[in-house]
Amino acid sequence: MTKLLNKPLKAFTLYAILILVCSIPAYYLIVDSIWMEELDEHNYILREQTQEGFNKLRPTSDELSQSIGLWNKIQPTSTVFHEAQNSPISDSIYTINRIVSHNGQTESDRFRGLLTAIKIDGKYYKLRIETNVEEADETVLAISLITCIFITLLIVGFILLNKRLSKRIWQPFYNTLEQIKSFDLNQSKTPAFSNSDIEEFQELNQSLSKLIKNNLTIYNQQKEFTQNASHELQTPLALLKTKLDLLVQDVSLTEHQRQTIETLDESLARITRINKNLLLLAGIENKEYSIASVDIKLMLSSLVKRFKEYTDQPDTITEDVYEAVTVSANESLTEVMISNLLSNAIRHGSDNNKIHIVLKDRTLTISNSGTTSLKSEYLFKRFASASSQSPGTGLGLAIVKEIADKYAWTVSYAYKENLHFFSIKF
């Protein structure tokens, strides 16, 4: 995954490199043509000076021949030819590479030449002026070097600017992102987006606020519905239950009728439990639960004692509690959570179930015998385990998860060596 800002940075950088590389030949051509023009001008000036110099001398033809010889010796870049002509010759301009040696070294130099004629005493003498020009490859090299330095400067600048931009300009966006990340439907805290002077961010924040508000409304309605529905069910359920209680008192009932009533009674008991658990589940998120300091170690031992009273094989539960853990939570809810885990371990254990309880490192682990690993992704979902075969309500572990989430405890499940492990990290 790349960051949003890195995408345009890449494109901008590539484009800048492309343009700067293309600029190298362009610069070269421009620099070279300016060079040539200047040198041509320079060569013409030299010609004028040469012509003027010779004419000032007003030499005789012998002197002239001597002067020309002397001139050619001391001015190696320009050569005056001895042959005189009566008519002027047309100028020609050229560029040429010559092998030149100076200071004992020979190298190829580039020259800009002018082949022309100067007029001395009414006669035309051919004149060749050649001026050293910077070689093409040297020019290209120099331009490339400079360009490379600029490219580097640009890229470094882009990266630094990009960093600053992402920190400054994109800050509202990251703020919003952080708010959404920490948003939880269960906690009735709505994220407060800060105002931004950037239109897109402002629009984004407004849309998100609207979306979250709608979701919260629907969520609360749903929660309220569950709660109200469960409440409303309590009275008709009570009616059914008491009617059945009265019915079984009838001595004239046949055995078949009694069995029918028992089946009804069992189903009713199950509905009652599901309803009670739904009510509890819907109520957990309400903030109405008071918080106190709860001694988990103490609670655990009293719960285990109570559980041992139910079973006729109290030896199945062994404890390994060697750490005092105190949490800040609602006592009743914490008790519901632990007792659900315990009854879960008792109910779903295989034959010869061994339940082991460990409390250490602020973690409560309850293990029981099992035959196959359970699917942990469904385990804590509502009604995920409920079926006509399973005796539970399918809500016990969902309640455990809900309570743990309320107090930011971590619930986990593992299966190792034929044992189911349920853990709560406080």
């Binding site: 209680d245 028992e262 009510l279 006729d312 659900n340």
Partner: protein
């Protein structure tokens, strides 16, 4: 014994009364807040069954008034709210017990029985039933003057039976009684069988007159 049933659901009130009438209790009814205030202020009851959600007012106010008037009526709150906070609040205000809807009539009867016993006999709460002697405070049981050591659950079961003499108690009612407040407790009847079997065995060994009868297909009955 006079019992006032404050409950707006008429049919439910009648069911309670029908069950309780057989137990020598006389039941009166109040269907709304006004009637409830009227009756509780004019008469004394051995036990008041108080539904918190009443047409015309909050049942908690009736409890508060009773306590302000220093009345000695036993009060059992019967609520559909079933929330832990309601329970704590009700008991703090001086209710003697709390029962969440829906409940079994045997459970209600046992609770009324225990409250009335407590109100009548105060601290010397010894119950004598033929050859059985039960000390409700010390939670000890004697048969023919021999001590029987019962577990807490067995003792609870015994009290449930004593509070529902000559009534059939279904296995589900027994299971719910045993699991008490636990949110997601067992529906497994094996636990019930095991405890009843042990209770019966201990009482029989001490020589009681086999009052605890099995009603096939339904549950158990204490015949006395």
């Amino acid at each position: 014994m006079k019992i006032l049933i404050i409950e707006d659901e008429k049919e439910l009130a009648l069911n309670m009364a029908e069950y309780l009438n057989k137990e020598d209790y006389r039941c009166e009814f109040a269907e709304n807040f006004e009637q409830a205030v009227d009756k509780t202020s004019s008469f004394n009851y051995d036990c008041i069954l108080l539904d918190l959600m009443l047409p015309g007012g909050d049942g908690i106010k009736i409890l508060e008034t009773l306590k302000n008037q220093n009345k000695q009526d036993g009060v059992i709150i019967i609520s559909a709210k079933g929330s832990l906070n309601d329970k704590i609040k009700g008991l703090q205000l001086g209710a003697d017990d709390y029962l969440a809807k829906p409940f079994h009539l045997s459970e209600l009867s046992a609770r009324i029985y225990s409250i009335i016993r407590r109100k009548q006999f105060g601290n010397s709460n010894n119950l004598i039933l033929h050859e059985l002697q039960i000390d409700l405070l010390a939670k000890t049981v004697k048969v023919h003057d021999t001590d029987i050591s019962l577990t807490k659950k067995e003792f609870d079961l015994l009290l449930l039976f004593i509070g529902n003499k000559n009534r059939v108690i279904s296995k589900n009612a027994l299971a719910e009684h045993l699991s008490g407040d636990m949110a997601d407790m067992f529906d497994n009847h094996d636990f019930v069988y095991a405890h009843i079997k042990n209770l019966k065995k201990k009482l029989t060994e001490a020589g009681y007159n086999n009052y605890l009868k099995t009603v096939y297909g339904t549950g158990y009955k204490w015949e006395a």
